[in-house]
């Protein structure tokens, strides 16, 4: 445990359960940057927004992210964070419900809940932390593993293509979508602020560096700085991507704000209307 006197980080002191620090992440893990992105966003959104915010997470390295925040948090089951969060939001629409999920939570075991949360357009902010494989169990293939990549369960290279989360959620009915990497932490923070204020299902994918597994197995870059450099060099902002032909974009990470719709009514608003109808009003 780090003594309070040595805990210099202002954000940590203000927002985190410093009594259970240091956290469990590997040295160089990008999840610490994601925690910082969340806290920076709330530092700008203000304490009132923070006080109305509750967190829900699944199982995996990403599931630990909100447990260090001094707020109500549910560490649910693998893949089921959105089901818990959906009921929480439906029961208490005034709360900001933020769900932190990983590759498996969101697109593997929990994929069904993800598409249905988007379909309902329920006012939840989903932070989807992806790192191209399953890390907590030691580096196996995920639905986000690039085709051809070697992992602990794809020793001859993966023969499955990876999901494109933005396209999946666009089709399913989400109304705010953005993708960034931990290299783009300022942009991610700005998107998160918008997502928290957005009325409807908002998802932000943040590709983060897992030097321990993705770095070693997939990118051959065990140094987290090299992974961030790789994120920088291989990401293409959507605005730039529009001017390029698809061949040039192969293997690149498209980043930016993918969608911001205001034409769909949020689920809990509809619930209120339904209740009025049921009561004959």
């Amino acid at each position: 445990m780090i003594p309070e006197s040595e805990f210099e980080n202002v954000l940590a002191k203000k927002y985190m359960r410093t009594e259970i620090m240091p956290h469990a992440f590997c040295p160089g893990c990008g999840l610490g940057i994601i925690e910082r992105i969340i806290l920076m966003a709330f530092e700008e959104l203000g304490w009132d927004e923070w006080e109305k915010t509750v967190f829900v997470s699944g199982i995996g390295c990403s599931g630990w992210v909100p447990l260090y925040f001094r707020r109500d948090a549910a560490h649910t089951l693998h893949g089921r964070a959105l089901a818990f969060a959906t009921a929480l939001k439906a029961s208490r629409p005034e709360l900001n419900v933020i769900v932190v999920m990983g590759d498996g939570d969101s697109m593997g075991i929990g994929g069904n809940h993800l598409i249905h949360a988007a379909r309902r357009n329920i006012g939840i902010t989903a932070i989807i932390a992806t790192n191209m494989l399953y890390s907590l169990t030691g580096g196996q293939m995920a639905p986000t593993t690039p085709e051809g990549a070697r992992t602990q369960t794809t020793p001859y290279g993966s023969i499955e293509p990876n999901f494109d989360l933005m396209e999946l959620l666009k089709a399913a009915g989400a109304t705010y979508l953005a993708r960034w990497t931990t290299y783009h932490f300022m942009q991610a923070k700005n998107s998160l602020k918008k997502a928290v204020k957005h009325k409807g299902f908002a998802a932000i994918e943040i590709l983060f560096q897992c030097p321990t597994y993705a770095g070693r197995y997939i990118l051959n870059k065990p140094d987290p700085r090299d992974m961030l450099q790789w994120f920088k060099e291989n990401s293409v902002p959507l605005t730039v991507a529009k001017k390029k032909d698809p061949e040039e974009l192969k293997g690149k990470i498209l980043v930016g704000e993918f969608l911001h719709r205001t034409d769909r009514v949020e689920y809990t608003e509809k619930l209120k209307e339904l209740e009025k109808r049921a009561k004959g009003g």
Partner: protein
């Protein structure tokens, strides 16, 4: 808002809905499944009328997590399902157990295994109700025998779930869910409702999983009330902090979620007896089978056989003492069940060899005929 006091002709599935609303249920999540669908259908009409939320979820995995989420939002919450859905819910049920979340699950049993006998009754899930989720824990399961029971027991189920901060299972079956019979609804002021105990200390003094002295569970705040709860599915200590290799803390948590139910069996157990005063043969039965058994016992009395019946209302925690008592009085115990013989194992264990225990299994999706029970009673009396 609520069904009027008085006597109503109701289906079991309707009675359980009306009872749950009176108990304070304000969130229902479910997925349609025969023979529990009528519960969801009626909930979808009734829940918004009382200011609650009904949600049809994408599957049963979501349904159980949704009611857990709603419970932490401060609502009393329920789901209803049948065998296949109940199997899917087992992991979520364990999450509710370890996080000490009050929820009510109704399993309207149909014949299994697998998709099984979709429209026909069974009592095949009674052991699953006790042991279905992995690990060690205590669970409360109640077995209704009538539409009236569906109304009364769902209120009792909500009360117990709040009192012990634990999931409570209602093990109905297709017959009880679909039977249509008179249900007496008492005036509201005569119905005992247990409300959730909220923390009385400020957040900085609140320890989320440490019961107050003399209590088995801690008070429970809702999300958004400033208590910074950690609803932790990983094995945790009294603070909700994950336990790495602290074996002693893990043992404390596991033993508490086990013993808070098992050691309170006297308070939780409900049963009824009929014609037991001078009985030499006892029929131990539960659910819809108890109705058949009662008829068989009355027929046996007409033949001069001293038979009586014990109807178990609480199946879990299993009340050993009542079986022990009966075993020391009678010479034989007959246990008819709509399964291959499950609760009979508990009866045998609790009888400790003091009476002969005779299993009367029945599978295939049909109730025992009273004559089948009677013939075993006759055999036992010889």
């Amino acid at each position: 808002m609520y069904v009027e006091p008085g006597i109503h002709l109701m289906q079991g599935d309707e009675a359980i809905v009306e009872g749950s609303l009176i108990a304070g249920c304000r969130f229902f999540a479910g997925y349609p499944i025969t023979p529990a669908t009528e519960i969801a259908e009626r909930m979808s009409r009734r829940m918004p009328q009382v200011g609650g939320v009904f949600m049809q979820m994408e599957d049963e995995l979501a349904s159980i997590l949704a009611i857990i989420g709603a419970s932490w939002a401060g609502k009393k919450a329920m789901t209803a399902t049948s065998g296949p859905g109940y199997s899917l819910m087992q992991e979520g049920l364990g999450y509710a157990v370890l996080t000490e979340t009050p929820i009510v699950i109704t399993d309207v049993q149909r014949g299994g295994p697998s998709t099984g006998l979709v429209t026909l009754p069974s009592q095949g899930d009674v052991m699953q109700a006790r042991w279905g989720s992995h690990g060690d824990y205590g669970i409360i399961a109640l077995a209704p025998s009538s539409a009236q029971d569906m109304f009364d027991l769902v209120i009792r189920a909500f009360n117990l779930s709040e009192e012990y901060r634990n999931p409570v299972v209602i093990l109905a079956d297709e017959v009880i869910a679909h039977v249509r019979e008179p249900v007496k609804v008492p005036p509201l002021e005569e119905i005992k409702i247990v409300e959730r105990r909220k923390p009385s200390v400020p957040p900085e003094e609140y320890i989320p999983y440490l019961p107050d002295p003399g209590e088995w569970v801690a008070p429970m705040p809702a999300f958004g009330e400033g208590y910074n709860m950690l609803v932790e599915s990983v094995m945790h200590d009294e603070f909700g902090h994950r336990i790495g290799t602290d074996h002693a803390a893990a043992e404390r948590t596991i033993k508490r979620v086990y013993y808070k139910i098992e050691k309170n069996v006297e308070k939780i157990a409900m049963y009824e007896t009929e014609l037991m005063e001078d009985a030499e043969i006892a029929v131990v039965s539960y659910g819809s089978t108890a109705r058949t058994s009662l008829r068989a016992v009355r027929e046996a009395r007409k033949l001069g056989i001293k038979a009586g019946i014990l109807r178990l209302i609480t199946l879990w925690p299993f009340y050993d003492k009542i079986i022990e008592d009966i075993a020391s009085q009678v010479k034989a115990i007959v246990v008819p069940e709509m399964n291959m013989g499950k609760i009979v194992r508990e009866v045998e264990r609790a009888a400790k060899g003091n009476a002969e225990v005779m299993s009367l299994p029945k599978v295939g999706g049909v109730l025992h005929h009273p004559d089948e029970v009677l013939s075993v009673i006759k055999k036992a009396a010889r």
